[in-house]
Point group: C2
């Protein structure tokens, strides 16, 4: 099973704080292995995400500070695939781009921007595929979610994580949580 | 084809501004007919969303200010179904809840909260179904995106909207936009 890691580019500490946190939690809940906040450090976000990991378990990692160029260089050197999520890219529904990504059987680095990205992201120097979750403007958080759900075909949603201190027992009505001692 | 309208509850003007905008744009791009920001008005968000609608077309509407109780009452009176998205609900992957919603052939009001929601949302007084996009914490933006993609089965991602002034022509590399005069 290939792994997915998310590279979050262009984070602006105040303005993007909550969105970047939501992107990280979506990445975790929808099956990614980890997220790297590139080119910047933001201790508050790391704290929020690590708190969720501690409570809810699983092997998700959150790293920050490394330059995107270094991440891309090292990822390519390891033989990984790079997907840039952008409204300008190949349409995930009407093209065969998702099939190509799955068929590659390679680990995937997904780049999501939070502001206008460098033109290089579209070029072969960086991305293997530019993928659009529809060619309309929406959100990196919603785009990433749909990409991951289609990539993992729902397997990512099935259970609770290993080492979880709290787990939800799904209910038709109300809330049920089990907490381990 | 049944319609989906999103009810965004609990919006806090400063704190949630960008997230609520992203939720609205995700709702629009992924096939919802409109979004109602309940119990509060936020002119800045309406302006952002209306600007996207004006440029990118389609029939999406953005309304605000009506109380959630009134929206729910009127929706039920019209025979509509109400789905509350919550991590505590029935798992969209492991239960048959999505099938039940589709099979109902009824229009759907989706409630997404941005903070802890009133307990009533879980009860029959409000919701017909409580649905979890996995039973892990993530984001209303990512949850809504996956729900809509699964509900519309990708049909929502196929084209551009009617009356669009700008349209993206999907590309493997780079950006291509057509702008109408």
């Amino acid at each position: 099973m290939n792994q997915i890691i998310v590279l979050r580019w262009g984070h602006r500490p105040q303005r993007d704080a909550r969105l970047t946190t939501h992107v990280a939690l979506a990445a975790r809940a929808l099956g990614a292995t980890g997220m790297i906040l590139s080119d910047i450090r933001d201790a508050k976000i790391k704290e929020s995400v690590d708190k969720v990991i501690e409570q809810w378990g699983g092997g998700f990692f959150f790293e920050m500070g490394t330059s995107w160029k270094q991440i891309v260089r090292e990822w390519k050197a390891k033989g990984g695939l790079i997907v840039h999520l952008t409204a300008y890219g190949e349409n995930v529904e009407t093209s065969d781009v998702m099939k190509k990504i799955k068929d590659s059987k390679r680990d995937v680095l997904i780049i999501v921007g939070s502001q206008k990205v460098p033109g290089e992201f579209f070029s072969e120097k960086v991305s293997d595929f530019n993928v659009a979750i529809g060619n309309q403007p929406h959100s990196e958080c919603s785009s990433l979610a749909v990409f991951l759900d289609r990539f993992f075909e729902g397997r990512e949603l099935k259970g609770s994580s290993e080492n979880a201190k709290v787990r939800i027992i799904p209910q038709r009505r109300g809330k049920k949580i089990t907490a381990e001692k």
